[in-house]
């Protein structure tokens, strides 16, 4: 790495210094990025057999065109960089470090488009202060990205070469031993097709075969925790909040085992469950059953929180939205319904396919939903607001299983093939044109899940379990206080207590998880109205105009009335003007309703 030349050490003569003043001060990260870029390229580009290369991702900080700097004095932006200290040395990095707008946006929590109606001065100033604080926090959080130790990996073909042609064997050959060990196949033809589940830290793997084989292991070290045969068909397996508890949906009932394979509970209220989903922050285990019920079991107290009848026959397609803990159910009539335990009816129903829905997946940011149906379509929906389809693609076989990764990669299992599509970045939808990776398995896919914090896709199929390497699928930087893959037993116990203390009640599950922090405008207006009714007058209303007394006989009754009338007329005129301004908008809105609305209108773009 080059060292930054100290501008203070050799002060240029005056003319030069003037020129130097015009120049933009160099930042050490600019230096560094050019340095690393140079460092990456100096050796001859690694030529591999097929002219393909894997390059590190370009650092995001490289984009200097859009810089965002928060400073209380806007003049600082124009200050000509280096400032002199007492010793005569210049500070080459004067002022706060710039932050890119996009990164700040990622951390920004306040939605400025929503406004509180007619806040009082005090409230307004308080809101403004909160907003300023929020902005400050997001800038700081964005700055702290500099401290992240790891960068996400990715795969890139040379000269636009198709990455989908890279085989797993090639990747394994190229990576280090520790990573190569993460690609493995478990050949378990006897108890076939397998469902699998990774624990929330990504450290442990549980799988259950249709013919009763259930096992859990620390898949990184390949240490087996337990292996049992439940002598009954296993529909689904799911880790509960930690790797010590394992829920297994068996033919009749739901059973819960510990990490030794000892049966702890048999939950008879959840019978004939086909799919399981665990909501980790609510401690709820959602089960979809053959009988058409969606049942929420609170695993911290062992109570059934809600049993909802979906009234759509057998439920075999279920997924959770990790952003808001809403359960998505796919139905045989092509709809996907969204459920929360607080409501007896679905929050929303989305018609997705002609023919039944085969698989549903939601990405971790909660913005995209991928569905596949019997019509061989794979569709991507926007979950924010209107549930519009973003893109669609017909697959030759149609996908039976879908999974999103932490960084937004979409995997689809079609027969014995797994396809993975990638997008531009974390929150962008995966583009369905060209797969990012493909892999053929030794059996038909029965379960798919990306491993959190590891670039690995676990596939359960009729021939056993396959752990695929998918570069760039997982979030490389974990948060030690949220879910730490390297936590010790003691740490897990501590975390468990903390997590139980802040268990979110089931009633708080709704489409917008941030709704709790927003102003409840409806009830605010209602309360205001009630208060005005109770008091007999509106305390917030502006007092009627009272003309001031004037000297020199100009305060005659006539002139007072005149002045009053003047103000009243002005107010009246303003009101009329406002209402006139609003009217044409209404008409514009009313116009397009001439034709009869159709259900298909939502697909028109």
């Amino acid at each position: 790495m080059e060292t930054v030349p100290k501008p203070g050490s050799n002060v240029p003569p005056k003319k030069e210094r003037l020129q130097a003043k015009k120049k933009k001060p160099r930042r050490y990260w600019e230096q560094e990025t050019t340095g690393t870029a140079a460092g990456a390229s100096p050796g001859p580009p690694r030529k591999r057999k097929r002219n393909r290369e894997l390059r590190p991702q370009k650092p995001k900080k490289n984009d200097t065109s859009k810089k965002f700097r928060i400073s209380k004095k806007p003049r600082e932006l124009k200050s000509p960089g280096p400032q002199r200290s007492l010793s005569g040395a210049q500070d080459p990095f004067a002022g706060p470090a710039p932050v890119s707008v996009e990164v700040v946006q990622k951390y920004c929590r306040i939605d400025k488009s929503k406004e509180v109606p007619h806040p009082k001065t005090k409230t307004r100033s308080r809101l403004a202060a909160a907003e300023a604080q929020e902005e400050e926090t997001s800038v700081r959080a964005a700055r702290s990205e500099l401290l992240l130790a790891e960068e996400p990996g990715f795969l890139e073909g040379e000269d636009g070469e198709d990455t989908a042609k890279i085989r797993q064997a090639d990747i394994v050959e190229a990576v280090d031993i520790a990573s190569a060990a993460k690609h493995f196949d478990l050949n378990l033809r006897q108890f076939g097709p397998y469902r699998l589940n990774y624990s929330s830290t990504g450290r442990h793997l549980a799988f259950g075969g249709r013919r009763g084989h259930v096992a859990a292991l620390d898949w990184v070290t390949k240490k087996l925790m337990c292996e049992i045969n439940v002598m009954e068909a296993v529909r689904d397996v799911r880790f509960l909040h930690s790797e010590t508890l394992l829920a297994v949906a068996q033919n009749r009932w739901l059973h819960i085992y510990d990490n030794q394979g000892i049966e702890l509970h048999c939950v008879r209220r959840c019978d004939r469950a086909t799919r399981l989903e665990f909501l980790p922050f609510h401690f709820l285990l959602a089960t979809a059953s053959e009988t058409g019920f969606l049942t929420y079991l609170d695993v911290s107290v062992g109570k059934i929180v809600a049993a909802l009848n979906a009234r759509a026959g057998r439920l075999s397609v279920m997924t959770q939205n990790p952003y808001n803990a809403v359960i998505h159910l796919g139905h045989s009539n092509g709809t996907v319904s969204l459920w929360s335990p607080a409501m007896k009816e679905p929050l929303a129903k989305i018609l997705c396919h002609r023919g039944g829905v085969r698989a549903v997946a939601v990405d971790p940011t909660g913005t995209h939903m991928a569905t596949s149906g019997l019509d061989h379509q794979l569709k991507l929906f926007d979950l924010r607001g209107t549930f519009q389809p973003l893109s669609a693609r017909t697959l030759p076989q149609g996908a039976g299983h879908l999974a999103f990764s932490q960084r937004g990669l979409l995997a689809a299992g079609m027969g014995d093939v797994v396809n993975i599509w990638a997008g531009q970045g974390k929150a962008s939808p995966p583009s369905l044109e060209q797969p990012y990776l493909t892999h053929r398995l030794s059996g038909h896919v029965h379960g798919l899940q990306f491993c959190p914090y590891e670039d690995v896709l676990g596939v359960g199929h009729s021939g056993g379990i396959t752990s695929m390497l998918v570069p760039g699928s997982a979030e490389p930087n974990f948060d030690g206080l949220e879910s730490n893959p390297y936590r010790s037993r003691k740490q897990r116990q501590e975390w468990e207590v903390k997590a139980l203390l802040e268990k979110v009640p089931a009633e708080l599950i709704c489409l917008d998880p941030r709704a709790l922090a927003e102003v409840d405008v409806v009830s605010l207006e209602q309360a205001k109205k009630e208060r005005a009714e109770r008091l007999g007058y509106d305390p917030d209303a502006t007092a009627p105009f009272q003309p001031k007394l004037k000297q020199k006989g100009r305060s005659s009754t006539a002139s007072l009335v005149k002045r009053k009338r003047k103000v009243m007329d002005q107010e009246h005129r303003d009101k009329v003007r406002q209402s006139l301004e609003q009217q044409p908008q209404k008409q514009e809105k009313a116009k397009p309703t001439g034709a009869r609305p159709s259900a298909l209108d939502r697909f028109v773009r």
Binding site: K106, D455, S488, Q491
Partner: protein
């Protein structure tokens, strides 16, 4: 640092982090990633944390610290020592003055100061001596330190007056003090006659207070329902405001020179801006009986009031409702109250001869806090602030247990107030529009302002 491109590509796969295996054992910093997608349900989780913090606050709310007993009659007045946090002075109805040490919770000195009530007590700004006035028409100055061995307990000075003095306060910077009785007298400490005496009307004045910032200003309240403001530099009073009922005491805000709060007989406290006396800044309503004493916190953000209803309440200056109410089974009518100079404790003296020491913040943990404890407390405080308007949290944080007498009084007064308001509304409804005006709560209790 020779990392080929392959290495960089498989981040997350090749990580070798043996040092992170056991974060508890090795003091490596815990890796953090503040990406919002890794921390889902931020708001609901914070809400639950705030709810838990609010509940814990109520669980740990144990404000009562100690009771200082030793007086043989009701405690009539209290004074703080401006130079010592541990020293407190109290005067009782039998003429006895006691000096207390708060850390030891012991009486360190007892003086039989007057015959009859000790009506007022105040310390000199330097903390070396204090003044008392009593029913025996005398003003006495005492040394703060006790007499040495063999010496008699005697006042430094004694002034014999013509009338009974009902209150005393010392100037904050000069050797001047003021007494009140039938008139407000301003005394030089060296003389036996007042420098000047001021009257406005003919009624007995119950309390006089120097402004701690604009030190020449004085406020007094008299039993003819008025509050009078004086400037020491001129011979006549400045202005007065007449309220509905008698004001018992006033207290100046130690941070804002022109703000003072008056404790009124009509169960309310009124915070006035002395520049505009016609409308109080805030009417503080929560007591169910006459308010007898009021004292500001040194921060000027809150004040405590003592009431005849056997409770003390803490009000924020800008809120009309109290944030806290303290009572015990044994505490009778509270006559005097003081907020200590470190803003952490409250003392109150009551009828049944005891001085009680309370925490100003009921659930605060006393003693030295570790940095983690402090951080957790700060975090919880912020959360509670953030979610304070949520109905569930609001209900829990507002809940107080009240003695039955106060509780039933509140209900009764609510009904009475409702009836009065209904009547007023009906009057407006059935009279000519505009002839009867709705009068706001702030203006209702002000009779007149005289200059």
């Amino acid at each position: 640092m020779d990392r080929g491109p392959w290495w960089a590509t498989f981040n997350g796969l090749h990580r070798v982090r043996h040092d992170l295996r056991n974060l508890a054992c090795i003091h490596t910093p815990i890796p953090r990633n503040y990406d919002p997608t890794l921390h889902p349900f931020e708001v609901p989780r914070e809400y639950i944390r705030a709810l838990n913090a609010t509940k814990l606050e109520r669980v740990f709310a144990k404000p009562f610290l100690a009771s200082l007993d030793g007086h043989r009659d009701g405690v009539n007045c209290l004074a703080k020592n401006p130079k010592s946090l541990t020293t407190v002075l109290s005067g009782a109805c039998d003429g006895e003055v006691k000096i207390w040490n708060l850390t030891r919770r012991k009486c360190i000195r007892t003086i039989q100061a007057h015959e009859g009530f000790v009506r007022g007590i105040c310390t000199r700004f330097c903390g070396t001596s204090f003044f008392t006035v009593g029913d025996d028409k005398t003003v006495k100055q005492w040394k703060m330190d006790g007499p040495s061995c063999g010496e008699e307990e005697e006042p430094l000075h004694t002034i014999l007056g013509k009338t009974v003095y009902t209150g005393i306060d010392h100037h904050w910077k000069e050797a001047v003090f003021a007494t009140c009785g039938q008139q407000v007298d301003i005394w030089d400490e060296q003389r036996t006659n007042p420098i000047c005496s001021m009257t406005w009307g003919f009624d007995s004045i119950s309390s006089v207070k120097f402004n701690p910032i604009e030190t020449f200003l004085l406020g007094s309240c008299a039993s003819d329902r008025n509050i009078v403001l004086y400037d020491m530099r001129q011979a006549t009073p400045l202005k007065k405001v007449i309220l509905d009922m008698r004001t018992n005491t006033i207290c100046w805000n130690p941070m804002e020179a022109f703000i003072f709060t008056a404790a009124n007989e009509d169960y309310n406290l009124y915070t006035f801006d002395m520049r505009a006396l016609d409308t109080p800044v805030m009417v503080h309503m929560d007591h169910v009986s006459a308010v007898l004493d009021v004292d500001y916190s040194p921060t000027g953000r809150e004040f405590v009031s003592a009431s005849f209803d056997k409770s003390i309440r803490i009000f924020p200056v800008d809120k009309s409702r109290s944030r806290e109410v303290y009572h015990t089974k044994r505490m009778q009518h509270v006559i005097c109250v003081k907020w200590t100079a470190d803003s952490k404790y409250i003392m109150c003296g009551s009828d049944e001869m005891n001085i009680r020491l309370w925490k100003a913040n009921a659930s605060e943990k006393l003693g030295v806090l570790t940095s983690r404890e402090k951080a957790a407390a700060d975090y919880n405080q912020k959360l509670k602030e953030k979610f304070q308007y949520h109905p569930h949290i609001k209900r829990i944080s507002r809940h107080r247990h009240l003695p039955k007498s106060i509780y039933s009084q509140i209900q009764e007064q609510r009904i009475m107030k409702e009836a009065r308001r209904r009547k007023e509304l009906n009057r407006i409804k059935h009279s000519k529009p505009g002839s009867v005006q709705m009068v706001s709560e702030k203006k209702k209790h002000i009779v007149a302002v005289v200059k």
